[in-house]
Symmetry: C3
Subunit: 279 residues, 3 copies
């Protein structure tokens, strides 16, 4: 399929360009984000001191902001770095971890959206819903992932949410879950790859956002970047699960296999396993 081939080309451009991906991120998964960047073919930089983030961001290909663990100091650095990246036309990718869980997180995201233009925002459905809520009611907001709705109905509502928020914020929205939805407001893709085991390792969401940062750092098509990052994580998860099961092992082995699968990831994996379609 056409889209598989495009993801394969995006992957090759990472291998060729080795994009520098600047992360300002949480300390829970910072090591994994650096390692998955290296495994895919990029190069990580994790500087966060406000005195140096502008200079650092000036030499990179993409900036990933992840709010997994917040502090006043980090929020300030994120805004400085994000604005500088915007100025230099460097893509900024946002992972709004647990936004909606506390008022503080919501206020931080509100400020971010006011100050920074994002190339991609990746979150689960409740995080994306929370952002839409912060930004005022949209029709999709209060209606997705309801227990009373069928899976199909929930997907339709989540699609609407992604599309509306995407148009409103002029960014690509990636909602990851059992089925992933990636939209630039105009075109919307669904991905049916992945495994429940990805939710049994901390930071697979953060790592997915890092992968998107790598793709967006190497290619200026951010819809393709988001799509490629999410598809890569899902497919690598499937491979890791199979290898784990072959060894009759557990979740520690799964994480090692996940890194191995990202390191070896190729067009063939995408062609063999990719379940990606426009809808």
């Amino acid at each position: 399929m056409e889209i598989n081939k495009k993801i394969g080309e995006a992957l090759n451009s990472i291998k060729n360009k080795k994009p520098l991906v600047h992360h300002i991120t949480n300390y829970v998964t910072i090591n994994d984000c650096a390692n998955i960047t290296l495994a895919l073919g990029g190069s990580p930089i994790m500087a966060e001191e406000k005195k140096e983030v502008e200079e650092m961001v000036s030499i990179v290909s993409a900036l990933v902001l992840n709010i997994g663990e917040l502090s006043e100091r980090i929020v300030e650095s994120m805004i400085i770095a994000g604005k500088k990246a915007n100025e230099l036309n460097i893509p900024v990718i946002l992972d709004p971890v647990a936004v909606g869980a506390t008022k503080y997180r919501s206020s931080v995201i509100k400020k971010f959206i006011k100050e920074i233009k994002f190339a991609v925002i990746r979150g689960n459905v409740s995080e994306i819903k929370a952002i839409a809520g912060i930004e005022g009611k949209t029709r999709g907001v209060d209606a997705c992932s309801e227990d009373t709705l069928s899976k199909e109905e929930n997907l339709i509502k989540a699609k609407k949410l992604a599309e509306e928020l995407s148009k409103k914020l002029k960014t690509v929205i990636a909602i990851t879950g059992e089925v992933d939805i990636i939209s630039n407001g105009d075109k919307t893709y669904f991905i049916e790859n992945g495994t429940e085991l990805l939710s049994k390792v901390t930071g697979t969401g953060c790592m997915c956002t890092s992968l998107i940062g790598n793709y967006c750092g190497a290619n200026k098509n951010y819809l393709l970047g988001a799509l490629s990052g999410v598809a890569t994580m899902g497919i690598a998860g499937e491979i890791a699960k199979e290898n784990m099961l072959k060894k009759d092992a557990g979740i520690g082995t799964f994480k090692v296999e996940l890194m191995d699968a990202i390191y070896k990831f190729s067009l063939k994996d995408i062609e063999n396993r990719g379940n990606i379609y426009e809808k």
Copy 2:
């Protein structure tokens, strides 16, 4: 044995309830603590910004405070979170890493004990001894783990230390070591599981405390929670060691196998290997 069955039931309640376990902890082992929580069946939250910890702690089942790496900022957040948890009757588990090594750590623990009521405190014998010392001389304090005493004599003294401190602070005390001692002042258990290899991976103490947090989050019996967490770590360590030796591997493999063993941990493991007795 009765106690094995109870631990098995406690384990099942984690799998069923998936307790949210809020950690404010050090950055050395924060990733491992999150992953071991997921592996056992709980769900980790690692927020630490004082502006949001009260709100965060309000939605969780247990709070783990670990002083491995301290800063003024973190200490302040820990106290806010701990007090809120007390207010809401959410169990607070303390890992007093390296207390006694510096005056600063002792002063922090002194403040904690004044401000926060703990469900469980888990440490090695010198940490627990240091806490008892902070709290004024008790007969057990200056007499355990002395080189001039036999192993049996040291155990008797450590048991007395655990019991006295437990009564004084109205908390469960878990002293981990070659033989683990868990006491609520009234009942005291010994556990003879584990392997020396656990001390060759950083953070197995922190991870043990996380396991206790999971058990206490799913069951209101904190003596059983401490016992179950310590026994789980010890037995998983034994399994990991055997698997490492089978592969003729080293400590990197041991850590992966440890996560695998926690992920697969079951009543059968406890029944086959548990060496837990009241004394």
Copy 3:
């Protein structure tokens, strides 16, 4: 060879003395630095709060300062700890990560060099070049690793850089790369071990510096300490690569194998594989 035997003896002294190695380091690789210290036979301490670093450093055998992630708070603690270590004649090892990339990093290193005496500084050629640049032009500075020069010519220039900076700062300089150069100004060694895969895992530079910290904590010969740390990392990398390839695995497995190789590291490995020579 004589030098292999000396490294073997240095390794044994770590196993016997179990040196406490105090790190103030970045949060990206802090877990790996603690684990590699344990794997080699030392014992890690990662305290960084200014209120306690002086007391902490007073009980350790070596201090590792790594500027991978900076903040005002950490820089202040590093200087306090470094000065105290100097006072107590405890070796201080510096990893000047990415110095030269931002003005802030250069200013921090400038301050460090003014305030602290280092036993060893380990970096890649551009980091060491940047330090030499901060310290005023030396003949080697603006001439190493130029694309127009042959590998042999670049090595000669890097050797000159190491020797001159070593004399100037009265410290051992370790430049790691395809060929490693270790000099105390008087004697200079080359090491041709290692694998390109080491650059595909985040923090192998930081971990190498930790190994040097362990060796310097157990032996007062810092040239031998730097040499042993760098050689250990390179040789362990080769072993890990072979084991990874045997399993047809990827970079996740390589990292696990690296820890295993460090854990099992022995004189035999050095004798079988060491490619270390004075030049």
